[in-house]
Amino acid sequence: MKSSKAWMGLMLILCFGLVLSACGGNKNNNASPSPSASEAPAASPSESASEEAPKAGSDKAFTIRVGAWFIDDRSYQVAFKQGIEDKYKELYPNAKIQWDITLGLPYFDKLKAQLASRSAPDVIFYQNQEYVVDGYLEDLSNEPWVARLNEAGQTDLQTHFQGKTYALPMGGSIGGGVWYNKKIFADLGLQPPKTTQEFMDVAEAIKQAGITPIALGFKDAWTAQMFATNWLQPYLFSEDPDFGLKIYNGEKKLDDPLIQEVFLNFQKMKENDYFNKNALSIDWPQSAQLFAKGEAAMIIQGPWMPGANKENIANGGFESFDIGFFPLMDDKGNTAMIIGSNEALGVNAQTELMQEAKDLVNVVASPELYGPYLVGGGALTMLSDVSVTYDDPVVSEVQEAVSKKSLPVRLESYLPTSGANALIDVTTKVVSGVKFTPADLKPMIDSLERDKATVTLPE
């Protein structure tokens, strides 16, 4: 009897302890375990930072987490990561940087869940303005690098909101365009096309030569979005920069004839076999391999393509070739490049390593790290004191296209996320071989109607 009472007592204590531990709030979720984080009182991050933050050059040991989706084993990325670690060690000799890298789109799913559960990294690479608008990033307007931003940097949409700066734009990137194999073009006597019809003609000539005209890797859905968005851009915005706003306000509809025309272009290209047969079941690295091998003459990609292509050729032992660039165009030959930061680097507003996190961003903004990063990624500088010389002459072709006409906004700037995803659905459906009909655009129209409240209009 005594032993059963003892057991009952023990069970009660265990249950009580379980309840207490489960119900107890953990206010230190964002900082990695470190002496300074655990000792900090449960005050606001800025208060604890000012009381507890080690000064630059501090010997305090801590681990700071950096989240990213694109830092892989490309040589300039490896150098970038190492450079950050080396330079940060000069400031904080006993600090450790923990890289929370999830390659590709799943990073953003994870980041949203982490931000909602207050377990996100201290320093965050990100895309899209929603993290800024929803208050998850710290205001960095007073940071020293902000004064160094050039005009493009100061007007960058995803790092600025309501007159404040929330992140370091990691260079101005074009939204995407067509990279082509100059050797194939030269062998076939082709010139970069200026109109949609010329684009089709060039593709036909390449196909007749037994080469795949355009390599697609639509298993990575963002590549489908990139192609569609960048082809919609000249049709919609080259003659009407307010087209997106008119869509939002209802003056124009998402089944506008101009939008339909772009999808009819996709349909025509598919019907004429201008895409690789496995366009929907290979990802972007696999499509880049097709391009590097010379099996495809063109690929629609972002500014990282020249560097990525060089590495693919070197690693694969393929025959080297010069790469050229031309922007996507409309029937009349108009172009309208999208320009904005591809990656942005912000500080988690919930971090308890606020000053350390800001210092890390300052480190990344240093010319010694920022410059080589731009060169590797083919991005344009957004810091006035950082000028870069690109190894590849193709960048001058990109700059020429940008200087003709470029805009910081695109159609998705005026759509909810569900609308952007509906755009991907139509694109992949048409590229898979289904004939396009205006009814295919209805999900996009419905999504704007349904989720309009979630759209943050560009300023």
Partner: protein, 292 residues
């Protein structure tokens, strides 16, 4: 305190930790989900109450609609084809022959392999330049080769066939266990009466097997309704929305579109739908169960 009361209290105390965990990690979040399903919530801003809008929007969402029809096709195919084939294989495997043990193991293997690994391997095999098309070319069937997972017409049927490949063996083994529990003397008595072949199967085997049929059908129906991994890894619902399933549509509503309130509403509707379908299926099959 008398003995009975003490025993009762001991039992409650032993159950309490599990009940607390169940309550905290299942019951409480479920109740919270009901609340969130009536809100617009992107998990970044506080939820905003919007009434029944999420539930109404489910009926207009193309991904949900396509997901529903695909899932129903999956379930129907499973019930008709997977169930029938599994039973046929079990009856065959129940007969005495030499390689029986090897075949039983081979049939069961696909279910043991992780779905993620299975998806990745099949993705490579079914690629336009994959092994499957290579075999078709060797067989002189070049005219039918295509990107099996990259075409609207073939993406979801391919996924259905892959789930059948994985599930048939598992169901066959369950049927086999059921077959082996039927006493032989019942068959002997029926044979004495002149029954043989299909008559034996129809009058003895099938009625005695109905309990197992209930279980297998339940697994097929619920498994089909919950299909997620294969379409997520192989196609992510594409091309277009041709290979969406209900679970994938809910997942993407939450994590792609950041519409957690809407996704919660969809998952609640889905949960109740699965419960109702499972109850109806079990009621239909249990009426036909025969006990010894």
């Amino acid at each position: 305190m008398n003995q009975n009361r003490r025993l009762y209290l001991s039992g409650v105390l032993f159950l309490l930790p599990a009940l607390l965990i169940f309550g905290m990690f299942f019951y409480l979040p479920f109740l919270q989900s009901i609340y969130y399903s009536f809100t617009e919530w992107n998990a970044l801003k506080p939820p905003r109450f919007i009434g029944f809008d999420n539930y109404v929007n489910l009926l207009k969402d193309q991904r949900m609609k396509d997901g529903f029809f695909n899932t129903m096709k999956m379930v129907a195919f499973g019930v008709i084809v997977q169930n029938t084939l599994a039973l046929f294989l079990a009856v065959m495997l129940n007969k005495p022959f030499r390689t029986k043990a090897f075949l039983r193991t081979s049939l069961y293997l696909p279910i043991v392999i992780s779905l993620v690994v299975t998806s990745i391997i099949w993705g490579q095999l079914l690629n336009y330049e994959g092994l499957f098309n290579g075999i078709l070319i060797r067989l002189g069937l070049e005219s039918i080769i295509q990107d099996w997972l990259g075409t609207v017409q073939t993406s979801f049927p391919t996924i259905i066939l892959l789930t059948q490949w994985q599930g048939i063996g598992y169901c066959a083994i369950i049927y086999l266990a059921g077959l082996q529990s039927i006493p032989n003397d019942i068959y002997e008595a029926a044979e004495i009466e002149g029954a043989k072949g299909f008559t034996l199967f129809r009058t003895i085997t099938l009625p005695m097997l109905m309990t197992t049929v209930s279980v297998v059908l339940f697994l097929i129906v619920v498994g089909g309704l919950r299909l997620f991994e294969l379409p997520y890894i192989l196609t992510n619902g594409g091309p277009g929305t041709s290979s969406y399933t209900l679970f994938l549509a809910v997942y993407n509503a939450a994590f792609q579109n950041t519409q957690y309130g809407y996704a919660t509403a969809a998952s609640i509707v889905l949960a109740f739908f699965i419960i109702i379908v499972a109850i109806v299926q079990l009621r239909i099959t249990s009426k036909r169960e025969v006990e010894l």
